[in-house]
């Protein structure tokens, strides 16, 4: 339909305009795209991060080993790329999981109000009142160790913040006249949520989700450090950071490389989150 075409063109123009105006966001997008591309392509690249070579331990970056080698002589470049795959997977999937749960609980609580709200928010209180690390440690003992269980554990115990934010926004949105009109006109609750409420809370969700990716990556590092995260021979950026600690004096690059990558990735996600938020907000056009 003509008018829909016009609309989507208007929206497309807006996102390009935003990206071109803010160079940092443009670079972030390019960086993340490159990172994702490399991560997806990693299995098909001639990289072997598991072959040990005791003759070449802790070698500084060179033309043979771009990122040097680790304490058992494995190619650090390959380990970093493979680690990035896992860190990104954990970050994105755990964020998606916690966001979906958070939105659902927050919407239900805010929109229904009354007893439903009370019960759901008390559950949130209870989960939030237990020290996070203790909870996750205990839970992960019962799970088979592996990538999936880490994602599930992180996703399952980090949705409370989003739920609270969404609930608070919905409570105030519910009093807006356009929402009241919709329910007066007999629009079904589900459609009100999808058509009016979700778009209105989207900016909040985007911001919280983009920092959620960062949180998940950091949490995974912490879990790996405690030995309940990623297991050898798999690696993740967090895991690499932890093993680099014992060699800080003679191989500083081992800590620098994953550290800088984590910082850049988190920065890029936050930048893009910001662009998406501005893109979504109808009246704001500056990043």
């Amino acid at each position: 339909m003509n008018y829909k075409k016009q609309l989507s063109r208007k929206k497309r123009d807006k996102i390009f305009e935003l990206l071109l105006k803010d160079k940092a966001s443009l670079i972030s997008v390019i960086f993340l795209l490159a990172l994702i591309l490399v991560s997806v392509a990693a299995p098909f690249l001639p990289l072997d991060g598991s072959k040990t070579d005791i003759l070449h331990m802790l070698e500084s970056p060179s033309s043979v080993h771009w990122f040097g080698t680790d304490e058992v002589g494995r190619d650090y470049f390959a380990r970093t790329i493979n680690g990035g795959r896992i860190s990104l997977t954990v970050g994105i999937l755990a964020m998606l999981m916690s966001t979906v749960i958070g939105i659902t609980v927050g919407m239900l609580a805010g929109f229904s109000g009354g007893i439903v709200d009370g019960v759901l928010m008390r559950i949130v209180d209870v989960i939030q009142s237990i020290p996070w690390l203790v909870l996750v440690t205990v839970i992960s003992i019962f799970f088979k160790k592996g990538l999936l269980s880490i994602i599930v554990v992180i996703g399952f115990f980090s949705w409370m913040e989003i739920a609270r934010l969404v609930r608070a926004e919905v409570l105030s949105l519910r009093e807006r006249e356009y929402i009241q009109y919709a329910s007066f006109a007999g629009v079904k609750s589900f459609i009100i949520i999808v058509k009016h409420l979700i778009p209105a809370v989207m900016p909040t969700i985007i911001v919280s989700a983009s920092s959620g990716i960062a949180d998940a990556i950091m949490t995974e590092s912490a879990l790996s450090f405690l030995g309940i995260g990623i297991q050898e021979p798999l690696s993740s950026w967090g895991k690499l950071l932890q093993t680099a600690q014992s060699n800080l004096q003679n191989a500083l690059y081992m800590a620098m490389i994953p550290g800088v990558l984590i910082i850049l990735t988190i920065f890029a996600f936050n930048k893009i989150g910001n662009v998406l938020r501005v893109y979504w907000e109808p009246r704001v056009s500056e990043v």
């Binding site: 008018y3 016009q6 609309l7 807006r176 356009y178 009241q180 007066f184 006109a185 209105a200």
Partner: protein, 321 residues
């Protein structure tokens, strides 16, 4: 004249409950109101802020649940109908809001805003909806191209026109105008009023016009009801109320209108009313108006006056009038 709506002793109380669900207090926003609205005419409802006029309007169209009383719409009591069976009445009764900013979703285009009620009540194809919306937009004085824009691209007056188009999109008989002009500039107010009047003539609409501007209400209404603290204190023909008010509260309201020509000011024996409207949480005993009334007697302090109707249909709730 044929009656479209008869309201009988309608009440809307808001209860303040504590954690255990016990009542902590009750706000009697609408406390026993009886009046009729004739087909094709405009009933103006005036009163101070907080007197319950918007609540009365919204309870009347079942946007709020009535506490008790009857709302007869063409002879059928809609106060007794279950909430999920109300759709066919909501198609006939629509609402225009006061705030043209919070009443339109900023994330939707004008087309989607106006199409929302249509899609609930009627099964139409996208093209049919587009045609109807283009026609509606022209009717309220906007261009049909405007449907692709977002509501924030319009000014307050234009947004109010979008609100009117949305209300009219399902061909209602009755429209509650909930202070539709009080958020607009004076120059825009007249335009919106003209649009409302033209549409009324063209489509034979009935309006309940809620406002606090007596001048405007006098201009647009055939009948006026004056509300004070949850009750109607005076009902009568528009000119009758405006030029010959009987209730001291109405007199004070009319006296409070700033005028250029001094001689038109009604001769009030005593000063303008003092003080604020009392809290509806704690309604004064006797006549609700007595603490602020310059004419209050002993009787007013203990007995509540009912609406009395006189020969020419003018109703007043006052012992002294």
């Amino acid at each position: 004249m044929e009656k479209l709506i008869e309201v009988k002793n309608l009440k809307k109380h808001f209860y303040k409950k504590n954690f255990w669900g016990q009542n902590q207090g009750v706000t009697k926003a609408v406390d026993g109101v009886t009046f009729d609205i004739n087909k094709g005419e405009t009933f103006g409802l005036v009163g101070e802020s907080g007197c319950g006029k918007s609540t009365l309007g919204r309870t009347l169209i079942r946007m709020y649940e009535p506490t008790s009383g009857k709302i007869m719409y063409e002879g059928e009591d809609i106060a007794a109908i279950k909430k999920n069976k109300l759709n066919k009445f909501h198609k006939k009764m629509q609402i225009i809001f006061q705030d043209p900013y919070s009443s339109l979703d900023p994330h939707l285009t004008v087309r989607d805003i106006i199409a929302e009620p249509i899609s609930v009540y009627e099964k139409l194809s996208d093209t049919e909806i587009d045609l109807r919306i283009a026609e509606l937009l022209k009717k309220v004085g906007l261009k049909s191209d405007d449907m692709n824009k977002y509501s924030y691209e319009f000014s307050g007056g234009q947004r109010q026109r979008i609100g009117i188009a949305r209300a009219l999109s399902v061909n209602p008989q009755f429209v509650l105008c909930d202070e539709p002009i009080s958020a607009l500039d004076v120059s825009i107010q007249a335009q919106v009023i003209n649009v409302l009047e033209e549409l009324q003539e063209e489509l034979g609409l009935t309006y309940l016009f809620v406002a606090h501007d007596l001048n405007m209400v006098h201009h647009i209404s055939e009948k006026i009801g004056v509300m004070y603290l949850g009750k109607i204190v005076e009902i009568g023909d528009s000119d009758d109320i405006y030029f010959n008010p009987k209730h001291p509260y109405t007199k004070a309201l009319i006296n409070a209108i700033p005028r250029i020509e001094q001689e038109r000011v009604l001769k009030l024996d005593r000063d303008v009313i003092q003080g604020d409207i009392p809290s509806p949480l704690n309604v004064p005993k006797g006549c609700r108006f007595h603490p602020r009334c310059p004419y209050a007697t002993e009787r007013c302090r203990c007995e509540e006056p009912e609406l009395r109707i006189d020969a020419d249909g003018h109703q007043v709730a006052c012992f002294e009038a």
